[in-house]
């Protein structure tokens, strides 16, 4: 883990001038968002909040893609296009998720995940 942190902080000493500094800040932002999303997933009990947490994770990835593209590989646009695909897929996932949640609300009269634990062992 220490080695990993070392590598991340080592961005600052890159020979990229101001670019390196800006990229580091953006990566820290996206990583923070990613872990906030992850944290939300296992602490929150409300299904809508959990869905939002997932969106947070996906969007942090979008930020990563765009930032890498802009600062490191500016001659092609593939990172940016990837994030468009992610947005499209995330929308499809959200639609399915909302449908499932509504159906669950109909049967369980609750959108708390801890109320749906019939399946275990």
């Amino acid at each position: 883990m220490i080695e990993l942190l070392f590598h991340i902080t080592a961005f600052k000493s890159l020979p990229l001038g101001e670019v390196g500094g800006a990229l580091t800040h953006i990566i820290i932002l996206s990583t923070a968002l990613f872990f906030i999303g992850m944290y939300g997933l296992f602490t929150r009990r409300n299904m809508i909040t959990m869905l939002m947490s997932i969106e947070l994770m996906l969007n942090s990835v979008n930020i990563n893609f765009v930032a890498f593209n802009k600062y490191l590989y500016p001659d092609k646009m593939d990172g940016i296009f990837f994030s468009i695909f992610i947005i499209a897929i995330a929308a499809a996932e959200a639609a399915v998720a909302i449908a499932i949640i509504i159906n669950l609300y109909r049967t369980h009269k609750s959108i708390d995940v801890d109320d749906v634990t019939d399946l275990k062992q």
């Binding site: 990563n64 890498f68 399946l119």
Partner: protein, 470 residues
């Protein structure tokens, strides 16, 4: 058939997507269940035909994919397998599929869409296609899992599958982003990746690969990312569990193996500890927990985890043995699982007690189910034996220092005999009156054909590879 990197496996992808749309629209016109089932079967034959036409170079749609999709013997073989298995599956369980809810045509359409994702996974050469393939394959499954609307368990399974599936998608995307950050590539080309990898960002490449690896472990339900499997397999309508446990799992493994072409990238970290660790955890979680189950359906879910542990051997040993072994394994495992799930869907009671005395009431079902179970347990003269054999042999061929891993695997295989034989014991040696729903002669014939296939492959495993891979 020459290897052409430029052309993807286009027929299967395009036809499966189109056929899905046709199926959906067909649902508006056709109202009877029998008609819908018939349409689905006809469309599947068309799909298989179009794929075989491409396989034998008779007809295919040329599309320039700029290297995003690649055609390989390996991928083609798996497409043949996946489509044939789906055909077998629909022939066996078509009646059950239309009975799940009121939207028979949509279920088939979703199956076709999922199949489209699976065919993309067998030919992707680019991480974007990996991402799209995985999503196209799993999103329809979320819907199929929760399709039994009035059933609380089905809803719960759908929710769990969605939450954990999306979580793993997040991990996958993060992995792809890191890989991209490290190399500027989406393509899966080990040599290029190694060149492009920027010294300063060296950590991003291995970390990205690890994240993708974790996410795919989730898709193939390898421990410790297997938690969704028992709950989802148990909660989903049994027919769809059968689909998920066989075709989807197979596709997951193809994606996994393709990704492992990147293992040769020198990045300062090796898979020498990680993979054996995951293999052992998977075998442990699958086999040991299965011992305790009271429901055959849930036992099969755990057994599917256990089988994933064996299939992971193919990743660990990227030699020819492993590659051919995984082909044999997926076929052997899928045939037996489709068969035993088909019997399961006909049972009124899914617990072991529900199988008591099946041999008396439905001898054909009991006999064929015995062959499926024996194959799953890996008893010689069935396909399952050679499947396991190839996997273990691949490990030893790679290096004799893997002997300990092989011993562990064989021990767990011995444990698996215990829970598999409980089913046989219930069917043959226990008194009871196993109740089933109505069984048609056609269904029995198909079961016998599948059982015969398992025995034939068990006697001549090279036959399968000679026919479709030579």
């Amino acid at each position: 058939m020459p290897e052409r990197a430029e052309l993807g496996v286009m027929n299967a992808i395009i036809f499966s997507a189109l056929i899905g749309v046709v199926m959906m629209l067909g649902g508006i016109v056709i109202k009877s269940n029998a008609g819908i089932k018939l349409l689905a079967i006809i469309l599947l034959f068309i799909l298989l035909g179009s794929h075989l036409a491409e396989y034998y170079d008779l007809f295919n749609i040329h599309i320039q994919t700029h290297g995003m999709l690649a055609k390989s013997r390996f991928g083609m073989f798996f497409n043949t397998i996946i489509i044939s298995l789906t055909l077998l599956y629909v022939l066996l369980s078509g009646d059950e599929i239309v009975k799940v809810g009121t939207y028979g045509a949509e279920y088939f359409a979703l199956i076709f869409f999922s199949l489209c994702g699976a065919t993309i996974l067998s030919s992707y050469n680019n991480l974007l296609m990996l991402f799209l393939g995985v999503e196209i394959m799993t999103i329809p499954l979320f819907v199929l899992t929760s399709s039994e609307k009035k059933n609380l368990k089905s809803n719960e399974a759908g929710l769990k599958y969605f939450l954990m599936g999306s979580f793993s998608t997040g991990i996958l995307l993060m992995g792809i982003a890191l890989y991209y950050g490290g190399t500027g590539l989406f393509a899966i080309e080990a040599s290029k990746a190694a060149n492009e990898a920027q010294q300063a960002f060296r950590i991003l490449l291995p970390l990205g690969l690890l994240f993708i690896f974790i996410s795919l472990s989730f898709k193939v339900s390898a421990a410790p990312f297997h938690f969704w499997t028992p709950d989802v397999y148990d909660g989903a309508p049994s027919v769809f569990t059968s689909f998920m446990a066989t075709i989807v799992k197979t596709a997951g493994f193809i994606a996994f193996i393709k990704l492992f072409e990147l293992r040769s990238v020198d990045m300062g970290y090796s898979w020498k500890i990680l993979l054996p660790l995951i293999i052992i955890l998977t075998l442990l979680a699958g086999n040991i927990t299965a011992v305790f189950q009271q429901s055959v359906k849930r036992m099969l879910a755990y057994s599917s985890i256990a089988h994933a542990g064996f299939m992971l051997f193919a990743l660990y040993n990227p030699n020819d043995f492993g590659k051919q072994g995984i082909m044999l394994y997926t076929v052997a495992y899928s045939l037996a699982t489709i068969g035993t799930f088909a019997v399961l869907t006909k049972m009124k009671d899914y617990t072991y007690e529900g199988y008591n005395g099946l041999a008396k009431t439905k001898p054909v079902l009991a006999a064929t189910n015995t062959i499926f179970i024996l194959s799953l347990a890996g008893i010689p003269l069935t396909a399952g034996f050679f499947a396991k054999y190839y996997m273990l042999a691949s490990a030893l061929k790679e290096s004799t220092s893997n002997l300990w891993l092989v011993i562990v695997a064989v021990l767990f295989a011995a444990v698996s005999v215990y829970y598999y034989f409980r089913v046989i014991q219930a069917m043959y040696f226990k008194d009871g009156n196993a109740e089933t729903t109505e069984i048609k002669p056609f269904f029995k014939t198909l079961l016998i054909i599948i059982a015969a296939l398992i025995i034939v492959i068990g006697l001549m495993p090279s036959l399968l590879l000679d026919l479709f891979y030579a």
